[in-house]
């Protein structure tokens, strides 16, 4: 079995043993869901409902006319109690629809249809109606991503899940292999790619086996085994490993003839086409050394993370940090009221022992960040220039091309928060460029 990989990157402790064997579970509904009207890349939605309105699960409650945007739906039957700014996982407040959940939930009335009979436009409409966005975390509107202006010769399904701790995609590959395959086929049809690749890291042998068994004999699908190296699941690194193509700086996968979609997204595509079911729930991993019962759980969009944690056994001991997402790119939280959104792949509960030191020292130019940066940048220079306010030089050394994977800060012996410096620099550089124009 050839195992492919990409240059640089870093080998991380993967911490998957907490939850990689846990089958997907469901939890009771919370009393209230908070559904942000902007939980995707692109233009925010405006509310279609107001306080007092009764809503049904799957009902569209937010939309935008912008090209790059995605509809937002109610995830439960309930009554709208407010449409107001609410805390969001990135630390800002986002206009959200607050719904009081009905005690009794009606049975879903999805109408089944034959997906093989659907035309490309029908598939795209189904995806758009369902409000599907990239569920790997970037939350880019899927119907837009599947409409590239270039010729696509490869569709890659991202089954890497390279972030430590997270195992939801792993479980989906094992437990919902049929739906995944169907969803991938639908996406392949839309983009017109002659071949599908499933990129899966070798720490998920059962997923690789399950996929290989299901595709048995299909000439246009290949399961590619990938080395367990971070950030293999990053689009550009995935394309490099699978096809040996490098997406140029500032460009997109479509510029090298490729479209990539996450495992969860493919399954959502299938469900939207087959049942007309909107994106109103997702599987995420509750884990960490501070989680009493680590597991992979299907959660309604808008559920407060406090409810999810409680239903999953609650805390184990003292908690020092709560992270939404993975430990390398996720967001630390200060409140248990933050809602789960379409791109939430995990809730990590860290004990105080796992909380990292925040004091940092001067850069000693050891070069480890340079050795491991997957984009071939110079994080040491970006960091020191940003820290001292020299943002133009930070840009020269690659600040704007950084996708914030976190490897530089991870390997740094001086514990420098380089990603934080990059974020500050990006803001300043963008402002300077805007001011110039």
């Amino acid at each position: 079995m050839t195992v492919k990989t990409f240059p640089r990157g870093v080998f991380l402790p993967h911490y998957k043993e907490f939850s990689e064997d846990k089958s997907i579970t469901t939890i009771p509904l919370p009393k209230e869901v908070v559904i942000p009207l902007h939980q995707h890349t692109g233009a925010p939605c405006r509310a279609l409902v107001q306080p007092g309105d009764e809503v049904k699960a799957g009902q569209r409650i937010g939309e935008s006319n912008a090209f790059v945007s995605a509809y937002v739906h109610a995830s439960v039957d309930g009554k709208v109690t407010a449409v107001e700014p609410r805390p969001y996982f990135t630390g800002t407040k986002v206009e959200s629809v607050v719904i009081e959940v009905n005690g009794e939930q009606s049975k879903p009335t999805w109408q089944e249809r034959d997906v093989s009979a659907l035309s490309i436009d029908q598939i795209k409409d189904a995806i758009k109606d369902a409000g599907i966005v990239g569920m790997g975390g970037a939350a880019f509107p899927t119907h837009v991503k599947l409409s590239p202006p270039t010729t696509i010769d490869a569709f890659i399904v991202n089954g890497c899940e390279c972030e430590p701790f997270l195992t939801c995609d792993h479980r989906l590959m094992v437990e919902m292999t049929d739906k995944l395959l169907e969803g991938a086929r639908l996406a392949q049809k839309v983009v017109g790619a002659p071949k599908i690749y499933f990129g899966v890291e070798t720490n998920k042998p059962d997923a690789i086996e399950a996929l290989k068994a299901k595709i048995a004999g299909a000439a246009d699908i290949e399961v590619v085994s990938l080395d367990v190296k971070y950030p293999q699941g990053s689009e550009k690194q995935l394309i490099k490993a699978v096809l040996n193509r490098e997406v140029p700086p500032g460009k997109l996968p479509l510029d090298v003839g490729v479209v990539v979609q996450n495992v969860s997204t493919c399954i959502a595509i299938y469900e939207a086409c087959r049942y007309g079911k909107p994106l109103i729930e997702r599987v995420l991993t509750v884990t960490g050394d501070g989680a009493a019962k680590p597991q992979n759980v299907l959660v309604k969009i808008g559920t407060p993370i406090g409810h999810v944690i409680e239903q999953c056994g609650g805390f184990k001991g003292e908690i020092g940090k709560i992270i939404m997402g993975g430990p390398m790119t996720g967001w630390a939280q200060s409140s248990l009221d933050i809602p789960v959104v379409k791109g939430t792949s995990g809730i990590l509960l860290f004990s105080p022992a796992m909380v990292v030191e925040t004091q940092h020292k001067a850069c000693v130019r050891c070069g480890k960040c340079v050795d491991h940066c997957p984009m071939n940048l110079y994080p040491n220079y970006i960091g020191t220039y940003a820290e001292t306010g020299r943002f133009a030089q930070a840009a020269e050394w690659g600040a704007m091309d950084c996708f914030e994977c976190g490897i530089c800060a991870y390997v740094c012996p001086s514990n420098r928060p380089i990603v934080q410096f990059v974020r500050q620099a990006k803001r300043q550089i963008a402002a300077a460029r805007a001011a110039k124009n």
Partner: protein, 333 residues
């Protein structure tokens, strides 16, 4: 659960860290220096021990005092002062006076490092800067010697003949120690020049631990070999004798003062190697390695700027586009 008081830390991603620290790396450098240190103690006994202790103490005290005066937190526990101290000691011969070694270390740690902003901000290798200050500030050191001479402890006899630098002997045309002796162990020159094998072992350890890469030591040693050959001298003697090996593995590879780009390291190493041979052939065996490294230290920011590697996917403007899709061909390599 809502009423349970939580004390949560909010910080930027990433939320994991490797076990890399500056002090663990410095510890590894000290370990890598052990073999040659032990050989020097074997040959020079109390002279070596005393010199090393004086330099270590001077380095620690200098750093403590400077940081206190400059109102900065102590950084002794990062171990870099200890490394500088030991390296300075290894640059001196066993007959060196303790005040010379102490002042040298003070200048290296205090002026070349702490006054420049502390670890990470210095432009020049602190140990080498301290070492050459004896030459550059000769009048001051001579004056000190005249005052402190009576305070010199008696630590045993030193055989001045065998203790001479092999390169000096080469210049004088006197009998050289055999190549095997040079390689294994010989009591000539500075403390850090007593065993090529010990230094190579230390260098190999640093390479294995990935604290240094092959570019600088490799290019430096090969450059010295080739250029000395061009000058009609014995290349093996030039590689094994003098401060080349300790310079190649421990001085030129100093993180702070060497290039961070791979190409830059090669240019740096080659340039140092060429300079070393020019110094030795032209000026005689006086710290050619130290001066060569210090000279190239000054060029490091410039070298980094001109050797920046292309970003992931960066395509040269002249690259063709594909006919069918009109999109630029991404780099495939």
């Amino acid at each position: 659960m809502a009423d349970k008081k939580l004390s949560l830390t909010l910080s930027s991603s990433p939320h994991l860290r490797s076990s890399n620290t500056v002090s663990s790396a410095m510890r590894d450098v000290l370990i890598a220096l052990c073999p040659v240190t032990l050989v020097s103690i074997y040959f020079f006994k109390l002279h070596a021990v005393f010199l090393i202790l004086v330099c270590l103490a001077a380095a620690a005290i200098t750093e403590l005092v400077f940081r206190k005066v400059m109102n900065k937190p102590s950084s002794l526990n990062d171990g870099s002062a200890m490394v500088t101290g030991l390296l300075v000691a290894l640059c001196f011969g066993p007959a060196t006076a303790w005040w010379t070694a102490a002042l040298s270390t003070f200048i290296g740690v205090g002026i070349a490092k702490e006054l420049m902003g502390g670890l990470g901000w210095n432009r020049f290798n602190p140990a080498l800067f301290g070492r050459v200050s004896v030459i550059l500030l000769l009048p001051i050191f001579s004056y000190l010697s005249s005052i402190f001479a009576p305070l010199r402890p008696y630590l045993g006899e030193i055989d001045m003949v065998t203790q001479a630098t092999p390169l000096a002997l080469l210049k004088q045309g006197a009998a050289m120690p055999g190549l095997l002796n040079l390689f294994l162990a010989h009591p000539g020159g500075a403390l850090g020049e007593t065993s090529a094998l010990a230094l190579i072992l230390g260098g190999a350890y640093l390479l294995y631990k990935k604290h240094i890469t092959w570019e600088i030591p490799g290019s430096m040693i090969i450059a010295v070999f080739v250029v000395s050959l061009i000058f009609g001298q014995n290349p093996l003697y030039h590689v094994l004798a003098g401060g080349l090996l300790i310079g190649a593995f421990f001085m030129a590879t100093d993180w702070v003062t060497s290039p961070i780009t791979a190409k830059g390291k090669l240019i740096f190493g080659v340039a140092i190697g060429i300079l070393i041979v020019i110094f030795r052939v032209g000026l005689g065996p006086t710290e050619g390695t130290a001066f060569s490294i210090l000279i190239m230290n000054a060029f490091v920011p410039y070298i980094d700027r001109i050797t920046k590697r292309p970003k992931f996917g960066e395509v040269a403007a002249s690259q063709p586009t594909t006919a069918t899709t009109g999109r630029p061909v991404g780099k495939t390599s």
